[in-house]
Symmetry: C2
Subunit: 221 residues, 2 copies
DNA sequence: GAATTTATATAACGATCGATGCAGAAATCT
DNA sequence: AGATTTCTGCATCGATCGTTATATAAATTC
């Protein structure tokens, strides 16, 4: 096996780069996240990353490759905000509730600062803009999200938490719809509190569908 | 007053234009709708509209002005698909249900053909792309939509259909969230049938919130 | 008919697009 | 040390961006 410790900084031969690659990538992510792929120019990027264009191309290859890395940076730094409590929840209901509540917070920047409201993956339009390869990337990222929810619901059926007659696919699509819709609202500046109320209302469908109002109708304070 | 009948075709003096302005506008709308503002170039437009660039600028003024007209064209031709049954419904519940169901159909092109899934206004990112003026335009269009729902809910309170303690703002945001989320799913190719199921599940929250399961839990067939 | 007005076709404008060639600078390797 | 490798700054590449000047064509008005 390759020596696993300290994969970075084998300290290559030539002149070392003068900028922090990860910090530059963070800036690129911020720009792509905010303005989208097409509206972000190389000039925008080099200015924000404070490097020359040859350095950008040497370090990242191309604008498309940089966008792909920015998507990965986004995933590495922001996915946990939304999926940690989902994963550790004891029941599917609590997992879904946590997903929506944590989304409300994460998408509005209530927990860690964000360059703009909404999810970079959800709101990406790079696929429609004529970049099929990047479009596939964001599409598969979205599929992974809905897949996580679906797996959790299937587990809930297997564990007897929810009835076997549950239309898991429809319910998963519903949850995805609510989360996606919250991204658009967050992009328009809607607050975390409002989105939490939305999540609260959305969960009423869960309880109604399962026929078990596990809690009284909330006050939406 | 000016002679109101036949506002178009006063048959001006000079050489008449050789193309159908409305048809050309339809093509422009299709392109902006599909690819977005930044990713659509003047060359794309002149090719699809089958006119030269001077004709485009003579007829529409600029790319930004053309986008604004495309938004208006979109509104004139597609708004009714979603709001007609909403307006004529007897109850707020049926109005909201019709809005979501008709959205499921309209956004997927199940009723009239569409160039791509999703709402042109909802999914527009022109505001984030650095065009503040157009951003205001789509923002106000979104506000008008949520305003319609809110007014209908307030009327429902006044008429006694729903309790006065209803958090109308939260409920309106929830409906907007679901409709917005459906646009994103439609853009990803999700079918009308799936979106109708989502609408069905979403309506469960309404009944649960109002405490009146007016209908039994649906089968989601 | 001639004069006027508007639209089209061709060509091109300056600016910016994404992407590089090149020379010098800064590191490692022998 | 010298040779090699890699990164940076400057300049620039051809292509495309949104937009327009110019000349010609097609209509109306007189």
């Amino acid at each position: 096996m390759t020596p696993s410790r300290s994969e970075e900084k084998p300290r290559g031969r030539g002149r070392p780069r003068a900028f922090d690659r990860e910090a530059a990538l963070a800036e690129a992510t911020r720009l792509f996240w905010t303005k989208g792929y097409e509206a972000t120019s190389i000039a925008d990027l080099t200015e924000a990353m404070k490097i020359g264009s040859p350095s950008l191309y040497a370090a990242f290859g191309s604008k498309e490759a940089l966008y792909a890395e920015a998507l990965d940076y986004y995933r590495r730094h922001y996915d946990a905000l939304v999926w940690t409590n989902f994963t550790s929840a004891d029941t599917a209901r609590e997992a879904v509730r946590a997903l929506l509540m944590d989304s409300a917070a994460a998408l509005t920047g209530a927990v860690v600062e964000v360059p703009c409201g909404g999810c970079m993956v959800t709101l990406s339009t790079v696929g429609s803009e004529g970049h099929a390869e990047l479009g596939e990337l964001v599409h598969s990222a979205r599929s992974a999200s809905i897949g996580r929810v679906k797996v959790r619901l299937e587990r809930a059926v297997a564990e007897g938490e929810i009835p076997g007659t549950t239309d898991i696919h429809a319910l998963t699509r519903y949850i995805q719809t609510v989360q996606n819709g919250m991204s658009l609202l967050a992009r328009d500046g809607v607050s975390c509190g409002e989105l939490r109320k939305v999540a609260e209302v959305a969960m009423l469908s869960w309880d109604a569908y399962m026929g078990s109002p596990a809690e009284p109708v909330p006050e939406l304070t």
